[in-house]
Amino acid sequence: MSLTITPTAALATVWNAVLPPEISAMTTLTNGDDLHLSLYRKMFQIRRFEEEAARAYAQSKIGGFLHLYIGQEPIAVGASAALRPDDYVMTTYRDHGLALARGMTPRAAMAELYGKVTGCSKGLGGSMHFFDKEHNMLGGYGIVGGHIPIAVGTAFASKYRGEDRVSMVFFGEGAVSIGDFHEGMSLAALWKLPIVFVCENNEYAMGTPLSRTLSVEDVSLKALAYGMERDRFNSEHVLQVRDRLGEAIARARTHSEPTLVEIRTYRFRGHSMSDPGKYRTKEELEERKKKDVLLRSRIELEEKGHKAALEAIDKEVEDEIADAVRFAEESPEPGPEVLEPTTYAGPFAR
């Protein structure tokens, strides 16, 4: 490839200069250790939430598909730190992390996995279909790529109404071959819509490695032909993710221009709970686990003398997750009466 990477890092200083200081959801915190601690806490909450979910799944308390986000947490958390609460987000079936990062309570999330009426989707959606309108988390979707144009539609609505909201859509590298990805990209660029496309490239689509998914490994290059800005980096630090996505968000918010961002990452668990993961070696997995970004934050914060704060976080998160499990176990199930009113708005069309 003789193509050069768009110098988005250089552009960033320009964009940041025009940003009003209140655009970040995290502006109450400084960019220093307080922010890092709070983002670490969120990543840790997601990790512990999913570990408990996996355990409950093994006990058959959760059914269907369960796709864990373990290893990819810095992306949802870094992104949420860069977004405003009124910005729209959407993702795939691998949706627990983004939902929690956006502010869904572990209770509502765990209850959904248990299929309880107190869950975020009343127990009707399950793991793949977390929805939280209050936090503008507009869903987890089961058909690969199908949600990409929908997310573009939310950006269209923002522009139509003259609002400065940004939309952000997450998808795997497996979705990049699907038509809906290209149609969504094409229209977003043509109509200059305020959206950020985030490809979480974890190197595998179910059992298919990147080399058998795409003819060109660099996903971000897809932006070029659409005349769209692009960025590409490894997920190495939650603050780095926040900053890099922040550039794309700023471009969307201030100039109503879309960006395709490819973030290289890795999932530590199988595609879903039923995946034995024979397509990759133990050594590869162990090697990648050493680069766990969550752990990196922990070590860094410990080294900076925040041991006590981290221990307090550990305890809080443990309590929170234990409470969520208890809540899910004790909550009632939805009854048949929820089915028809949730199918149509207004009278059921027979």
Binding site: G126, M128, I143, E340
Partner: protein, 327 residues
């Protein structure tokens, strides 16, 4: 005869036909290196190599269209979708190209193509992954649609499908893959399209079903027998073409019919069967034809609600009682 699981019967049909005819190839997601998302294609990459067992990325519309094109010029592709749900992404290719090319070209072109995948509900996989797609596809002239319930039929019908010169859609079921049955070893054994089978003889009511629901109907029939009700079960096996003679013959004997299927009640194959019965055997009927179907809502995740929405033996029994005016 060998006892095979349903998935093994499907695999045996593909292997035999690929050995028999070099023009047959298999394409789909995870069919090769991964050995099949549901292990149906296990070992086939090793056996036939990557020229004939082809792993595709997530591109249902693309590899369906490519297979239609390859079929148009003489190959005989087998396309596997991870499940029929994902065929919706390729719906335009199936509806507008596979089904219509022959007629649009004035009969010049044929599209010998097999599309196959598990269909219907699985377990708690939610509303986007629980579709019964046979109802959509059986609607379309130019397509054939098969939905076997038994391993032997799976093998025999798939072999017929591969040898057929039309697009044939083959509906399997995740919940049937482990079912065992006697399967003929003879490589010339086939089951012709458009022939239903009577899987249980009875005199009081005809239960018409296909795929997984045949097994549920058998369960219902065993319960009904305890009440002294003798149910005959017609396994359609082939939804298009539809064996109306066998259905009418059964109803002529029992005078009452319940169609049992997964999938929504609005329109669909069950409505088609009911129409044929009332049209062709109106004078034989002692009660309206009833249907035991999935309820008319998207599939909920919650386990209990899902079981409530999917048709169970109890729903078949309830409808049998109604056509017998017993309550």
């Amino acid at each position: 005869m060998t006892v095979l699981r349903y998935r093994e019967a499907v695999r045996a049909a593909m292997i035999e036909e690929m050995e028999r005819d070099e023009r047959v190839y298999l394409v789909g997601e995870e069919v090769g290196h991964y050995q099949g998302a549901y292990k149906v294609t296990e070992g086939m990459l090793d056996k036939f190599g990557s020229r004939r067992v082809i792993d595709a990325p997530i591109t249902e519309s693309g590899f369906t269209g490519i297979s239609i094109g390859a079929a148009m010029v003489g190959l005989r592709p087998i396309v596997e979708y991870m499940t029929w749900n994902f065929s919706a992404v390729a719906f335009d290719q199936i509806l507008n190209n596979a089904a219509k090319l022959r007629q649009m070209s004035g009969g010049q072109l044929t599209i010998p193509l097999v599309l196959r995948a598990p269909n219907g509900s699985a377990r708690q996989v939610g509303s986007q992954h629980s579709h019964s797609m046979e109802h959509f596809y059986a609607h379309i002239p130019g397509l054939k649609v098969l939905a076997p319930a038994m391993p032997a039929d799976a093998k025999g019908l798939l072999k017929s499908a591969i040898r057929d010169d039309n697009p044939v859609l083959f509906m399997e079921s995740e919940t049937l893959y482990g079912v065992k049955g006697e399967v003929p070893d003879d490589p010339d054994f086939i089951v012709p399209l458009g022939v239903a089978s009577i899987v249980r003889e009875g005199t009081d009511v005809s239960i018409i079903a296909w795929s997984r629901m045949v097994h549920v109907a058998l369960e219902a029939a065993a319960e009904l027998e305890k009440e002294g009700i003798s149910a005959e079960i017609v396994d359609l096996r082939s939804l298009r073409p539809l064996d109306e003679e066998t259905v009418v013959r059964s109803v002529t004997k029992t005078h009452r019919a319940v169609v049992a299927h997964e999938g929504w009640p609005y329109g669909g194959v069950g409505a088609e069967v009911a129409d044929r019965i009332q049209r062709l055997a109106f004078d034989e009927l002692d009660a309206p034809v009833l249907r035991a179907t999935t309820l008319d809502v998207p599939m909920p995740y919650n386990a209990r609600l899902e079981q409530y929405v999917i048709p169970q033996a109890a729903r078949i029994i309830e409808n049998v009682h109604r056509v017998l005016y017993k309550s």
